[in-house]
């Protein structure tokens, strides 16, 4: 008896498997109905990455604008010294005598230091000031 040889093409053995009648014809529609649809995925608002990015950006903007806001609307009790001086000299109906009365001793000392007048300068002012007698009397 001839021994069985796999590589003998004359005696190639098929698998023997068969399919039901019309199997492949029906298969296509069976598979197509099972495929996922193309509906856009609905993602909850709070789950979207973009929501968190926008929230983070908004938080940064708010944090940065707080100091700017505070600076812009700052109601300072202090008025700029130069502005005040300019106002007093150009607008205020206030004399040097009134100023001398209003200002405190320490303010006058401060002015004296700032002016930093030498003795010659003081003598010059006294000599040229006609109201000197009046100041002495007051």
């Amino acid at each position: 008896m001839k021994s069985f040889k796999i590589n003998d093409n004359d005696s190639k053995i098929p698998s023997g498997f068969k399919t039901p009648e019309g199997y492949f014809e029906a298969l296509e529609s069976k598979i197509l109905t099972q495929l996922p649809s193309h509906e856009p995925k609905v993602i909850a608002f709070y789950k979207r990455k973009s929501t968190w990015y926008y929230a983070a950006a908004a938080a940064v903007v708010v944090m940065l604008s707080i100091p700017i806001y505070q600076n812009f609307f700052k109601s300072s009790g202090e008025v700029d010294a130069i502005v005040l001086e300019d106002y007093i000299t150009t607008h205020a109906d206030i004399s040097a005598e009134d100023l001398a009365t209003i200002l405190e001793e320490e303010d006058l000392e401060k002015i004296k230091l700032e002016l930093n007048l030498g003795d010659e300068a003081i003598e010059d002012i006294l000599l040229n000031n006609n109201d000197l007698e009046q100041y002495i009397l007051d």
């Binding site: 021994s3 069985f4 040889k5 796999i6 590589n7 053995i13 098929p14 698998s15 023997g16 498997f17 068969k18 399919t19 039901p20 199997y23 492949f24 298969l27 296509e28 069976k30 598979i31 197509l32 099972q34 495929l35 996922p36 193309h38």
Partner: protein, 180 residues
């Protein structure tokens, strides 16, 4: 290769996807069915695995990078699905996958979707005693006539190793067929 690139583009474009996928189904349903059937042996099981394979192909198309041929990629999915199926079925029955396949082969004569002769049943029994990888290589070469180069892409094994595996499988089968 360019034709395949264009075809994959059509498969990924929602406007052309349905028509392209129907063509894919028509071109590959029979060879993939026979490949799967050779592994799982039973028609109903092959039907389940084939449908799962095509659904997986559809779902993972955007991951196909074109590093292998499209059909190699699909065969790889089909092979993995079939082997996983067999292993899960064997586990459910509390036996090994080899034992399960032997059991199925022993009952082939009673299978309404098997019209093989005694020698065909004997050949299936001979194949069932081989290690899993050798069985696969033998079936793909002998029944499906897949080239070694394509088989290498599908199974991720070198051509040399596949040739050696087939050679060993042939020797054992011939011994079995000629001994009884």
């Amino acid at each position: 290769m360019q034709d395949e690139k264009n075809f994959v583009r059509e498969l990924l474009d929602p406007k052309t996807q349905n028509v392209a996928f129907q063509k894919l189904l028509r071109d590959y349903q029979k060879p993939l069915y026979h490949h799967i059937r050779n592994i799982v042996l039973n028609h109903d099981d092959a039907d389940d695995v084939l449908q799962n394979t095509f659904i997986k192909v559809f779902q993972h198309l955007r991951n196909f990078k074109g590093e292998s041929k499209l059909f190699s990629w699909m065969y790889r999915i089909a092979t993995n699905e079939a082997i996983t199926f067999i292993n899960q079925k064997a586990k459910k029955n509390g036996i090994t996958s080899e034992a399960l396949q032997s059991k199925i082969v022993d009952n082939l004569k009673a299978d309404e979707y098997f019209d093989g002769s005694d020698i065909q049943i004997k050949l299936q029994k001979a194949i069932a005693i081989l290690p899993e990888k050798q069985q696969l290589v033998f079936k793909m070469k002998y029944f499906e006539e897949i080239k070694y180069e394509d088989m290498s892409e599908i199974l991720g094994t070198s051509v040399g190793a596949l040739k050696a595996s087939y050679h060993h499988a042939v020797k054992k089968i011939e011994e079995f067929m000629n001994s009884r």
